[in-house]
């Protein structure tokens, strides 16, 4: 391809405008996101958030491409270009190249907007996140080229707006309605990522690269093809789907796998040992006080823990591994307890209450979206027992007590210290292995 002709297309095609629109729309939405989320705190989460932006940017690239694709027919150049010697596939290279350059540069500008903050915020510096924006850039190129191809095929003024509105809605529908495997064919990567100890599964990255590359090729074939040759455009799409779909994981949770680098423990030098994941190293110092206080309060119980470690495998406690070892007190630090620099945003008192929930055990009843009433009741009942246990250890009601807790509190508080320890010890044992109903154990109703 000639650099001179590429330069002409960069100046004169829609490419430059497409890049500018991507920068403007991308920065506007990105800055709104920056206000709210802690995603400026970690590389992977930030890169994932920037992928979320593509749900808007890709439709814009499609629209720009479609508008550009009309040019040949609209300007009446087809008669002249039918008599030139350069083959059709070479003719689309400058304009598609120009578009690829501007959309990628535009996306890079948007991406760079938060890079300095992330680098300053995180304690886990790495490059494992790089595939995320690279796949995103590929998705943008594929969108631009697909638009170019469809615009060439259907050079109507209506094509571009129909494609923009249709793909905006299509991508949302893919995320909120379709879900599962197919949702990962979208350029976004699972919405806002709130787990700091994961990285995209390599198979997801590979499948998405194949899929978006197939779409890009389709766009070029459509932009090149004359007459029946356009049918070949269906080939890469079909091939891409056939390869990518089996590679993609069946559920959204499997989009991400554990990132051992982020979870690598960072611990106190002195005993009792308190550890957090490397990504949350800034949270260690404020956590040490409440953590050791929790160990001290739990010490009288049988099988009391001797150290505290961050729960890096299951931040949101949705897939508890039981039985749980008794010597380590696990604590979760989800993003809503952290600030942008992954320091604790809760008070020491709140941290202490959290550590003491369920007498230092993780929950047994899994919480999931869309529970039925029976599940909800079971979950609430366990939660109440866990809160009451923490209250008994602290010797005062928690601020997070519900009405149920408040009603039961006076009777429990009135028990003798020995009885309290006995019941808390039994509750802890049951909580570690998930055997028995915690509420029954705590109220003593099941003991008889």
């Amino acid at each position: 391809m000639s650099a001179r002709v590429l330069g002409i297309e960069l100046r004169r095609s829609v490419a430059l405008l497409a890049g500018a629109v991507i920068v403007a729309a991308g920065l506007a939405v990105a800055f709104m996101m920056f206000q709210k989320d802690t995603s400026l705190g970690q590389w992977t989460a930030y890169a994932g958030l920037m992928r979320y932006l593509l749900e808007i940017l890709c439709p814009l690239a499609i629209g720009a491409g479609a508008w550009q694709g009309r040019r040949e027919r609209r300007s009446g150049m087809t008669e002249l270009t039918a008599t030139v010697s350069r083959p059709a596939w070479q003719r689309v290279l400058p304009v598609s190249g120009a578009m690829a350059i501007t959309v990628v540069v535009g996306y890079a500008v948007v991406f760079v907007a938060g890079v300095v903050q992330v680098a300053g915020n995180t304690t886990y510096q790495h490059l494992g996140w790089l595939p995320i924006p690279l796949v995103g850039a590929l998705a943008l190129i594929a969108s631009g080229w697909l638009g170019l191809g469809i615009g060439t095929l259907l050079p109507s003024a209506i094509t571009a707006p129909v494609l923009v509105a249709g793909s905006l809605m299509g991508l949302i529908a893919l995320r909120v309605l379709v879900g599962g495997k197919a949702a990962l064919l979208s350029p976004e990567l699972g919405g806002v990522l709130s787990d700091h100890f994961v990285a995209p599964a390599p198979r997801v990255t590979i499948a998405q690269v194949i899929w978006f590359a197939a779409l890009a090729v389709t766009g070029i074939v459509l932009a090149t093809g004359i007459g029946r040759r356009r049918l070949f455009a269906l080939l890469p799409v079909a091939l891409g789907l056939a390869v990518a779909l089996p590679l993609l994981p069946a559920t959204r949770e499997a989009t991400y796998v554990a990132d051992p680098g982020a979870a690598e423990p960072v611990c106190t030098a002195d005993l009792p040992r308190v550890c957090v994941g490397k990504a949350h190293a800034n949270a260690l110092q404020p956590l040490v006080g409440p953590a050791r206080e929790a160990l001290r309060l739990l010490a009288p119980l049988p099988g009391a823990p001797t150290s505290v470690a961050e729960n890096t495998r299951d931040t949101y406690m949705t897939s508890q591994v039981k039985p749980q070892p008794s010597d380590v007190l696990l604590v979760s630090l989800p993003t809503y307890w952290l600030d942008n620099r992954s320091r604790l945003s809760m008070t020491e008192e709140e941290a202490l209450s959290e550590l003491l929930l369920g007498a230092g055990t993780t929950p047994c009843v899994r919480y999931h979206e869309d529970p039925n009433p029976a599940e909800l009741e079971q979950y609430r009942r366990e939660l109440d027992a866990r809160h009451l246990a923490a209250g008994l250890l602290l010797g005062k009601p928690l601020r997070t007590f519900g009405s149920e807790d408040k009603a039961m509190w006076p009777a429990l508080q009135a028990l003798s210290p020995e009885e309290k320890h006995r019941r808390l010890g039994a509750l802890r044992t049951a909580g570690l292995s998930c055997s028995g109903d915690l509420m029954e154990i705590l109220t003593g109703s099941g003991a008889r």
Binding site: V5, I8, G76, V84, R86
Partner: protein, 266 residues
């Protein structure tokens, strides 16, 4: 600056630039060129004929846009039914309905077309400048196409047609929109091109033919009616034929004779 003409470097492996035998070309459903025999060599050939005679269809066939339905057509020594890429490199074409990219400057537009014709990268800038100068657009070279007047656009179209020093130049109604002074200049350009290339100019304006062409091709109903020099065309007219100039009278006389003969056939 040394001007490199196509003729100096071109292989002369063919006797005539265009050879058609019993050529038939469809325009839509109609056989617009219907059994044409024609041989065109170096020089400027004025293609004359009434509306609907098949001039544009013939030019489009010579430009490799349309494929012959029947008969044979050789362009620059190569059959038109084969891969046209080799021919297209040496082709300059100004379509009747001339499209352009409005946002491009004249220079960018001509550069782009030069690239499409697979000119070598190093030759492009100088060739573009030369073509723009030849059509007298040097002072507007860096203006956007959309700011040009109709006549200027036509000249930009001629510039793109000649940028690759083509051996076969096809100009369909090139003088439309040109003012009288520009037309005089354009005839000079035609004569210059005709020294080394085969130039086919389709036109309604018989005076252009008389002033600039070395050869006149008169077609009607898709067939060759008459071929000869402009002087012979002027001589063919009688005093009572329609037209203001000798060439126009010759044109109408030849055409009338042809339709008479066709009439007699029926």
């Amino acid at each position: 600056m040394r001007v490199v003409n196509a003729a100096e470097t071109a292989p002369t492996g063919y006797a005539e630039a265009v050879t058609a035998t019993g050529l038939k070309v469809r325009a839509g459903r109609r056989m617009a060129v219907d059994g044409l025999d024609l041989a065109l060599g170096t020089g400027v050939h004025g293609l004359l004929g009434p509306n609907g005679a098949g001039k544009t269809t013939l030019i489009r066939a010579l430009a490799t846009v349309l494929r012959p339905a029947e008969g044979s057509l050789d362009l620059l020594g190569l059959p038109a039914t084969g891969n046209p890429r080799e021919v297209r490199r040496k082709l300059g074409y100004l379509p009747q309905d001339f499209g352009f990219y409005p946002r491009f400057t004249v220079r960018e537009f001509v550069t782009y077309l030069a690239w499409l014709k697979e000119m070598s990268k190093v030759d492009i800038p100088a060739a573009v400048q030369r073509a723009i100068e030849k059509v007298g657009l040097a002072d507007r070279a860096d203006d956007r196409m959309k700011t040009l007047s109709g006549g200027m656009l036509r000249r930009a179209g001629i510039a793109q047609a000649i940028v690759n020093s083509p051996e076969l130049v096809l100009l369909d109604e090139p003088t439309v929109g040109l003012d009288p002074a520009q037309r005089v200049e354009f005839r000079g350009l035609l004569r210059e091109l005709g020294e080394h290339s085969c130039v086919v100019v389709s036109t309604h304006l018989v005076e252009d033919v008389a002033a600039a062409c070395t050869d006149v091709v008169l077609i009607a109903s898709g067939r060759l009616v008459w071929q000869g020099t402009p002087a012979a065309l002027a001589a063919a007219g009688g005093a009572d034929d329609v037209g203001d100039s000798p060439t126009e009278r010759g044109y109408s006389a030849l055409l009338a004779a042809h339709t008479d003969r066709r009439g007699a056939d029926w």
